[in-house]
């Protein structure tokens, strides 16, 4: 990391610190510690998250748009096969879980799946590789996995939440949506008892509604954060290297094998998390489109 020796906890803290910057008195300044970042308040930007997620999203869209421009009904070849396979897979998932008629859902699912997959995929890069590159450009902190930043995951889940609310109102109407929130799950034929049930229902269904974006964002964030943390812990094993002793060689070897094993296992996790986020989005939007719950 730096020339002076650092402790394990410093190494971990350093890796969990975003490159948080804001504009203060006309010039950009970036936080050097978690405390400084906290002090910047809300109007600060995690530049690393923003830049990495933008690069990955642009990469995805450029690749797919390149194919889409040349897409024809003729015989597909090369990258077009791959892109069509992905599109077909997403289309199948949407057809399987989404019963309404909305052409927005499938491209939304595609964007979510590929973008999240690419953001998660950054976890498989050697943990210090990209931060070192950033450091050589003068950025002290650089988190390469945007999905370990709750800002990124909540940013996506809020958009999904907005769409859920929008389509709930659109297909059920304001009254229908309000009825869904207040008349269920407890129902009674007696109007007085029903009136008593309304606040209970509102609390239950309200929690249910709010839980959707929160669980979407936190599930992805938690999984990726924990995975990243294990990569960091594995990376510490070899960092105490001080000459050829049996202990040092064992630790160093363990680091190599553990990080390899965890990375292989992580391939499953990153794909699964992208898929779960996509599938739950489709399911939530499907529920929003259903007129009778």
């Amino acid at each position: 990391m730096t020339t002076e020796t650092i402790t394990s906890s410093e190494y971990i803290k350093h890796h969990l610190q975003n490159l948080t910057c804001n504009i203060n008195a006309g010039h950009v300044q970036c936080a050097h510690s978690a405390e400084e970042a906290k002090k910047m308040g809300f109007w600060a930007l995690n530049v690393d998250t923003f830049v990495m997620s933008f690069i990955l999203g642009a990469l995805f869209l450029m690749l797919f748009h390149g194919v889409a421009k040349r897409a024809s009904s003729g015989i597909p070849a090369g990258i077009q096969n791959f892109v069509e396979w992905v599109v077909d897979f997403i289309d199948g998932s949407v057809r399987g879980s989404f019963s309404g008629k909305n052409t927005l859902v499938a491209p939304l699912a595609l964007t979510i799946f590929v973008w999240i997959f690419l953001m998660n995929f950054m976890d498989l890069f050697p943990i210090d590789f990209l931060p070192k590159v950033a450091e050589s450009f003068g950025f002290g902190h650089f988190k390469v996995v945007p999905s370990t930043d709750p800002n990124a995951t909540f940013g996506m889940s809020f958009v999904v939440f907005f769409l859920v609310i929008y389509y709930s109102l659109k297909s059920k109407g304001l009254g229908g949506f309000a009825a869904e929130l207040s008349m269920m799950p407890f129902q009674s034929k007696n109007p007085i008892i029903q009136a008593l049930f309304v606040p209970i229902n509102l609390i239950l269904e309200g929690v249910n509604l709010i839980a959707k974006p929160v669980s979407l964002a936190l599930r992805l964030f938690g999984n990726m954060y924990a995975g990243e943390m294990i990569f960091i812990l594995i990376a510490i094993m070899g960092s105490t290297w001080a000459g050829f002793t049996v202990a040092n060689i064992t630790l160093f070897g363990s680091q190599i094998f553990l990080s390899l094993g965890w990375a292989i296992f992580h391939i499953l996790i990153i794909t699964l998390q992208a898929f779960i986020f996509m599938t739950l989005t489709i399911v939530y939007l499907d529920m929003a489109h259903q007129e009778h719950h």
């Binding site: 600060a44 995805f60 889409a68 595609l110 800002n151």
Partner: protein, 156 residues
Amino acid sequence: MNINATLIAQAIMFALFFWFCKSFVWTPIINALAARQKQIADGLAAAADGRNSLEVAAKQSAESLNQAKQKASEIIAQAEKRASQIVDEAKGSAKVEGERILVGAKAEIEQEVNRAKESLRSQVSALAVAGAEKILRKEIDSKAHSEMLAKLAAEL
């Protein structure tokens, strides 16, 4: 790990990516896929049609071959019938002709015989007259007896 304006930036970025993906990625690709699906379906339908029309054509050709065979055998049968008819006719006419020739020949022979008889008769009567003349020259007047001799010749 603080919640800050990145949240808003990420949400806007996500919305923009989603819009771009819908307009310039998803729609053209899914259209191309649908078009290809239709092409393949059409191609398969055309192939099935082709197979059907091949079957129909094979059936038709077999039918017309059968018809041709039948017609040919009919023609052969007719020709054979006609040939035997012609032979029969020829036989019949030959018989008739032969009979006619035979009858003609018989009539001619009879005529010839009659003519020969006539000439013989006239010659015999002339001879008889000549003999009788010689015998009777002296005693009988040729004038008185020529009438009787002509009667005799007619009787022969």
